[in-house]
């Protein structure tokens, strides 16, 4: 039982903050990511998390302040630019969407690196370590703010705002998102413009990616976007249940991440993702819809039947 209480003994209330922060980052990602999976656009998260880079660098060059909201706006614009490039390439030529995605985001990322090296010089504050690990591990050292007599780390407040906004917007536009995820033509026939939906979705993804990016780093954002939705997708055929399961996945990976972080003394952000990955493997094996286990069991039950029908046919 000692294992279960270790984080609380070591970190005290800090453990709760870490877990809450991880959940608040994973929650909006999980909801948005579910729709991305249904739209077969999982890798746009990958593309956007890389392409926001030049936007961040340019905004940083102009403001010189890492906390400036211009960074988020710059990043959002760069994310949109990459979406536009992808569309320009795969709509206008015979290059397919996956290759178009690859061309756009690598180009923007490379541009970002070159800009960073040439315009910021050596005294860069945008360190690569932050791109990989994020600042989740530093959460407890960030500035705290008093809310209702409780000292709350500031990033939690920001992320809570992002999560609430995302969920509010998704409830508001649930019908549009649902329609366009399954049948773009039907959505268009109801008068929802596919292009508008597409670009709004992409802007929302850029926004969430940028918000989550500072916490968990560029690549782990992709994991938070895809893993919850994918695990939920393996367990159900219904969208509402999928969204619910995805948020439960987000919560469980936050809890699991905390324990992995403390047990093995590892980086917190990647621990959250790894525990999310373990949950996905469980869903892959045991999921009620796609679980490998049930398929194997069914196969074993059916094998004699198959033989019987074969012999019946041959007779």
């Amino acid at each position: 039982m000692n294992y279960l209480t270790i984080p609380w003994e070591n970190l005290g209330f800090g453990a709760f903050w870490l877990m809450l922060m991880a959940f608040l980052v994973a929650l909006p990602c999980s909801q948005m990511g579910s729709f991305l999976i249904l739209r077969r656009m999982s890798l746009t998260g990958d593309a956007i998390s890389h392409s926001v880079f030049p936007g961040v660098v340019i905004a940083f060059v102009f403001t010189g302040d890492l906390a400036s909201p211009w960074l988020i706006i710059g990043a959002g614009l760069a994310g949109l630019a990459s979406t536009v490039f992808i569309e320009l390439i795969h709509k206008k030529t015979r290059v397919k969407q996956d290759a178009a995605t690859g061309i756009s985001f690598t180009a923007l990322f490379a541009l970002g690196v070159v800009l960073m090296e040439t315009m910021l010089g050596k005294n860069v504050d945008l360190d690569l370590d932050c791109v990989l690990h994020g600042r989740l591990g530093l959460l407890l050292e960030e500035q705290h703010r008093e809310i209702f007599g409780l000292m709350v780390p500031q990033p939690i407040l920001i992320m809570a705002g992002v999560a609430l906004l995302t969920i509010f917007l998704m409830m508001l536009f649930y019908r549009v998102l649902l329609l366009s995820a399954f049948d773009q033509g039907l959505a268009a026939s109801y008068g929802y413009k596919p292009a508008v939906i597409h670009y709004c979705t992409m802007f929302a993804v850029s926004f969430i990616v940028v918000a989550a990016f500072q916490a968990v780093g560029a690549i782990l954002v992709i994991a938070l976007l895809i893993l919850p939705g994918a695990a939920a997708y393996l367990c159900t055929h219904r969208l509402k249940i999928m969204l619910l399961l995805a948020s439960i996945h987000a919560l469980l990976s936050a809890v699991g991440g905390l324990y992995l972080h403390v047990w093995f003394n590892t980086d917190m952000a990647s621990a959250v993702v790894v525990s999310g990955g373990v949950l996905l493997i469980l869903a892959w094996l045991l999921g009620p819809v796609d679980g490998l286990m049930w398929k194997w069991l069914k196969d074993e039950e059916e094998t004699p039947d198959k033989d019987a029908s074969h012999s019946a046919c041959s007779e």
Partner: protein
């Protein structure tokens, strides 16, 4: 050993020379394999593999004695292969689509690598070099390995070119041809992982994907022949390698990998606009030309119809009549007639306010009207359309029907004389209107 000594001779002495040679080798190898990647629509497989090798790199750094590069390479390749295998397994056993499967593997493997690395920071100091690549740090031994790898890659691809090509377009068909699809797939993903790991040290995780995708996509826009695509893609890879290498050697502070990527992107952008057949400008030009032709032919048809409604008694048709028929201004009609004049379909008569058709004009106009009416008849007779629903469709297809299709239509409809609305179908071969 003799064989390897040849490679020794090729290795340049200066650091910049080495970097450029590495970029060239990389461009050639990735460009070659990239053609298959782009055709098979697994463009982001390279991206997934390059991220998935991370746990392998970490394991290699921690456990191999003296950080032997060969061991690290091997561990990385194993992790990459495992990742590729899991992607295939996820796709074949669940409803998840390729993009999600790739994303899952990419992100989970990478996260696992990062987690492992964060536990063992001291043992894994070189991880950053692997992730972001540093072409300047490539030494003679690395170069020799890259050369051997590139030569090997070229040999395997050219030996297996045909089965790999067939499989890229249609796995089922290649199975029917008797190719061992599973083995070929294995070889393909092995080669891909191999070249990703080789390239990783030079350009880093993200930019490996660029080297695989961008030159091949540019080549894909330039040619319809697979052999040519392979060569072009290699050439573009080498070209961007050289440009990137030279720029970053001469301009202070320019990182090589990103500059190579940007060079490849510039090449792609140029091809995107000016490629003769699949380029955006060529397509735009074709659309504009087609629109102009359609407009011209519609005006010709209008002149014919005006003549027809007059019982073909007047030779001249006034611009005002054309404008009214086309529901447009007189200026507009004049402009369209000027274009017809240029092509020799009409001649101006009298004071320049009216026109008459030349022999060529008559022929083309009659062809248009015939195509239109034949198609209307075909839709009502053979496809059971109502006769008030056929005009729009015929209006589009009249410009496209070729001589053979027209012959076939006439035969199928038993050489008709009247369209569904009772109007006569002209016969351009007689060169006189049916009156």
């Amino acid at each position: 050993m003799n064989f390897l000594a040849v490679f020794d001779l090729l290795i340049p002495a200066t650091g910049a020379g080495k970097a450029i040679l590495a970029a060239v080798l990389l461009g050639a190898g990735a460009g070659l394999l990239g053609s298959f990647v782009v055709l098979r629509r697994v463009a982001l497989m390279g991206d997934a593999i390059s991220h998935a090798v991370l746990p392998g790199v970490v394991a290699g750094l921690i456990y191999s004695p003296d950080r032997h590069p060969g061991m690290i390479f091997l561990c990385a390749a194993l992790a990459g292969l495992l990742g590729a295998g899991i992607v295939r397994a996820l796709m074949s056993t669940t409803r998840l689509k390729s993009d999600t499967a790739l994303g899952i593997v990419l992100a989970s493997f990478f996260a696992f690598g990062i987690m492992w690395q964060s536990r063992n920071q001291a043992g894994t100091a070189g991880v950053m070099n692997f992730l972001f690549g540093n072409i300047g740090s490539i030494n003679a031994a690395d170069l020799k390995m890259m050369m051997v790898a590139t030569v090997l890659l070229c040999v395997v691809v050219f030996v297996l070119k045909r089965p790999l090509l067939v499989m890229s377009f249609d796995e089922g068909f290649s199975q029917a041809l008797g190719y061992p699809v599973r083995i070929l797939n294995g070889i393909f993903y092995f080669l891909l992982t191999f070249s990703v790991v080789v390239a990783l040290q030079a350009v880093g995780v993200v930019l490996v994907s660029a080297m695989l995708i961008t030159p091949a996509a540019a080549a894909y826009l330039l040619t319809d022949k697979f052999g040519k695509m392979l060569l072009l893609s290699m050439a573009f890879g080498v070209l961007s390698g050289i440009i990137g290498g030279v720029i970053s050697a001469n301009v202070n502070g320019m990182p090589t990998g990103p500059v190579i990527t940007l060079a490849a992107t510039v090449v792609f952008a140029a091809v995107y606009f000016v490629a003769p057949k699949h380029g955006v400008l060529a397509k735009l030009l074709r659309t504009v030309k087609r629109r102009r032709r359609v407009r011209r032919e519609n005006t010709l048809k209008a002149i014919y119809q005006i003549q027809e409604s007059g019982g073909f008694t007047h030779e001249d048709v006034s611009l005002i009549e054309i404008a009214r028929k086309r529901r447009n201004t007189e200026d507009h009609a004049r402009k369209e007639c000027a274009s017809l004049l240029k092509y020799g379909f009409i001649e101006m008569s009298g004071d320049g306010h009216s026109v008459h058709l030349t022999a060529a004009g008559w022929k083309r106009a009659m062809e248009m009207v015939r195509n239109h009416r034949l198609w209307e008849l075909y839709l009502t007779n053979e496809a059971n359309y109502a006769d008030d629903h056929v005009h729009e469709d015929a209006e589009k297809i009249e410009h496209i029907l070729g001589a053979n299709t027209v012959k076939q239509l006439e035969k199928d409809l038993d050489f008709p004389e009247l369209d569904p609305h009772g109007k006569p179908i002209p016969q351009p071969q007689l060169l006189t209107p049916v009156s």
